[in-house]
């Protein structure tokens, strides 16, 4: 038995363990499931108040870290629609995030070129719409490309958006835009609910938005739309010949992904109170993809876990100074060697990767 066989057998066992956990979970009665989920949710909402000793971040404010983590989760859920469900490798997702953030800044800051600050509740839909439009503009011509080519084009898009921000005076060039409107709401004592110092309300806001987005994404997944994405991912030509309007559904995946990315960017901008191009570097885009792939692209729980790890670990180990990214990078490499399908893989994705190793399904040649 070679080392590779051993590794493969071990991997098979791990898949089996995850599979059996899944079956056990499937057998829990709905009421029990609901109870467990509610308890878990309450715990997650209370995290910044409990401030648990090992989880908490000694070098930075725990609520702020939690906000950043939750934002990362939201981004990963959106990117998962594009990569995990429709199978389109988008390396420039940061571009949509930036479009959302800058839309929030331009429409929500009195210091922007518009010189009028629209209310937060008006800015959010504008940011989502503009991100969606940018997704359609990018996707229209490029979704005819496949695989690697699409990855290259999207990579370029992410950089183009950042460079436009750097070089455009209307967008504040390198200085960025300050004074962005915050979400509405007041505390009992008349102070604003969403202040500068306390990150907890922002965390709770993003958490709630995540729950809504998850519901929507799950609805899409279990419908004609989700089936079409899956069929496109598995065999695009066969899908088209079975009546799937492949281009239209790929464009939808892109637009939905962009909308969620734009929403995340807008939330980020309104929490920060300012934006500048520094926040939208390529490395962040790569981290977004890492979160999706690491967790198990196509599986919502996996993707959420991946996003939590990718955004939380560097904060937790801030004490290592500049070595923290080295440790983080090494952890990613190790993980990908031993678990290429992600931490909690999508059932189908795991099989697709295994198939790539063993050869294709039996078929008759010409």
């Amino acid at each position: 038995m070679t080392a590779l066989d051993k590794a493969r057998a071990a991997d098979g066992r791990r898949i089996e363990i995850v599979g059996s956990m899944r079956r056990q979970w499937d057998q829990v009665p709905p009421v029990g499931k609901f109870g467990v989920l509610v308890a878990l949710l309450v715990l997650i909402y209370l995290l910044p108040i409990i401030n648990p000793p090992i989880l908490t971040t000694p070098e930075s404010d725990f609520a702020t870290v939690l906000f950043n983590v939750s934002l990362f989760v939201l981004v990963a859920i959106g990117l998962n629609v594009v990569i995990g469900m429709a199978g389109l490798l988008d390396l420039g997702y940061i571009g949509f995030y930036a479009v959302g953030a800058y839309s929030m800044a331009v429409f929500g800051s009195p210091r922007s070129q518009l010189a009028v600050a629209y209310p937060w509740l008006v800015c959010i839909p504008i940011a989502i719409a503009l991100a969606m439009v940018s997704g359609v503009i990018l996707g229209g011509p490029t979704l005819r490309l496949r695989g690697d080519y699409l990855a290259i084009v999207t990579l370029g898009f992410g950089e183009i958006v950042r460079l436009i921000a750097v070089n455009s005076d209307a967008l504040g060039s390198a200085r960025g835009i300050r004074g962005i409107v915050r979400p509405p709401g007041e505390k009992a004592n008349g102070r604003p609910l969403f202040g500068v110092l306390d990150a907890k309300p922002y965390y709770w806001l993003v958490l709630t938005i995540i729950l809504i987005i998850i519901l929507g994404v799950r609805n899409l997944e279990h419908s004609r739309v989700g089936r079409s994405w899956l069929a496109i991912r598995e065999d695009e030509d066969a899908a088209a010949l079975m009546g799937v309007p492949t281009f239209r559904f790929k464009l939808w995946a892109f637009a939905i992904g962009a909308a969620v990315g734009g929403l995340s960017g807008a939330l980020f901008a309104s929490k920060q109170g300012f934006v500048n191009p520094e926040s939208f570097k390529l490395i962040t885009s790569i981290l977004f993809v890492a979160a999706v792939v690491l967790g198990g692209s196509g599986n919502l729980v996996g993707v959420i876990l991946g996003a939590v790890l990718v955004s939380y670990l560097p904060e937790r180990f801030r004490g290592f100074e500049e070595y923290r990214y080295l440790v983080f990078g090494a952890a990613l490499v190790v993980l990908m060697i031993f678990r290429p399908q992600g931490l909690i893989p999508n059932r189908r994705r795991a099989a697709e990767i295994a198939e790539g190793e063993e050869g294709a399904m039996p078929s008759v040649t010409t």
Partner: protein, 279 residues
């Protein structure tokens, strides 16, 4: 195994009522030529398929049979000539639009969605006739529920018709070879076609399985579908088709009833004389 007739009461199948009475052919391949650079894959091929018939398309390897399918289903655009379906030019229609018009196909090399279950594979086919898009699915509008329910019913009925309903929840790649072939036919039928194109559906089958398939193809025709059959196995073609078109090197060399084609010297020379194809 066979369910009661007429259970597929899909409005898109209405064209089937006019079996044999309609003078305009269902599908016309009109002087189609297809060139790839210097290679002429199809050279002025013309033939017609009439409603309700089973037409065989045969020829030695590389004769252009599958290429002909690909032109009919929009995979390739003909260099010259045209394909008409129900009198309508296919022209530059997209592949999914041609499927919606009523042409469905299977593949010589099985091309199921391997990680989807058998049922899901067929559901993708039924989706060809569905309208629910992102908004309907996102907000679970009534149309979404209705289409999901109807699609599921139709898909299960088709799986039952093909005799693979026990495997509905199994992932396609795990199905036995013969069931994969049957699933492909079920998926094609799910798109609600009038014309079903089968590309060597018996490839790799043993004689008993071939006999089953023969009966199945007849039953599909009896449900009112028109069938175009590419097949290597001469006995199968002769046994099930009413007319046969023979291709060789991208040209049509003969057309007629099985008996006529069998006695045509050009066909004998081109095709039947080759031992491995005589099966």
């Amino acid at each position: 195994m066979s369910p009661p007739e007429g259970t597929l009461s899909d409005p898109s199948d209405l064209g089937r009522a006019a079996v044999g009475t309609d003078p305009t052919p269902l599908l016309e391949v009109d002087d189609v030529t297809l060139r790839f650079g210097g290679v002429t894959a199809l050279d002025g091929v013309s033939f017609a398929i009439h409603k309700g018939e089973i037409l065989g398309l045969i020829g030695p390897n590389g004769a252009g049979k599958t290429t002909c399918f690909n032109v009919m289903t929009g995979v390739y655009q003909p260099t010259s000539g045209q394909v008409r379906f129900n009198g309508r030019r296919l022209g530059r229609l997209k592949r999914y639009q041609i499927t919606k018009l009523g042409i469905a196909r299977t593949f010589q090399n099985i091309r199921l969605f391997p990680e989807m279950t058998a049922l899901e594979n067929v559901l993708v086919g039924t989706d060809a006739r569905h309208r629910t898009s992102v908004v309907g699915a996102l907000f679970r509008l009534p149309g979404h529920w209705r289409e999901e329910r109807d699609g599921r019913e139709k898909a299960l009925e088709l799986l039952h018709f093909m005799g693979i309903d026990r495997r509905a929840e199994e992932v396609a790649r795990n199905l036995p070879y013969g069931d994969q072939r049957r699933l492909e036919i079920a998926r094609a039928l799910a798109t609600g076609p009038t014309l079903l194109c089968l590309d060597e559906p018996a490839a790799g089958f043993n004689p008993a399985e071939k006999a089953d398939l023969l009966a199945l193809i007849r039953r599909i025709r009896d449900r009112g579908y028109t069938i175009l059959l590419i097949e290597h196995d001469m006995r199968l073609v002769m046994g099930v088709t009413e007319r046969i078109v023979v291709l060789e090197f991208g040209r049509k060399i003969a057309e007629g009833t099985p008996a006529e084609v069998r006695d045509n010297p050009a066909v004998v020379a081109a095709y039947l004389g080759v031992p491995e194809d005589a099966a």
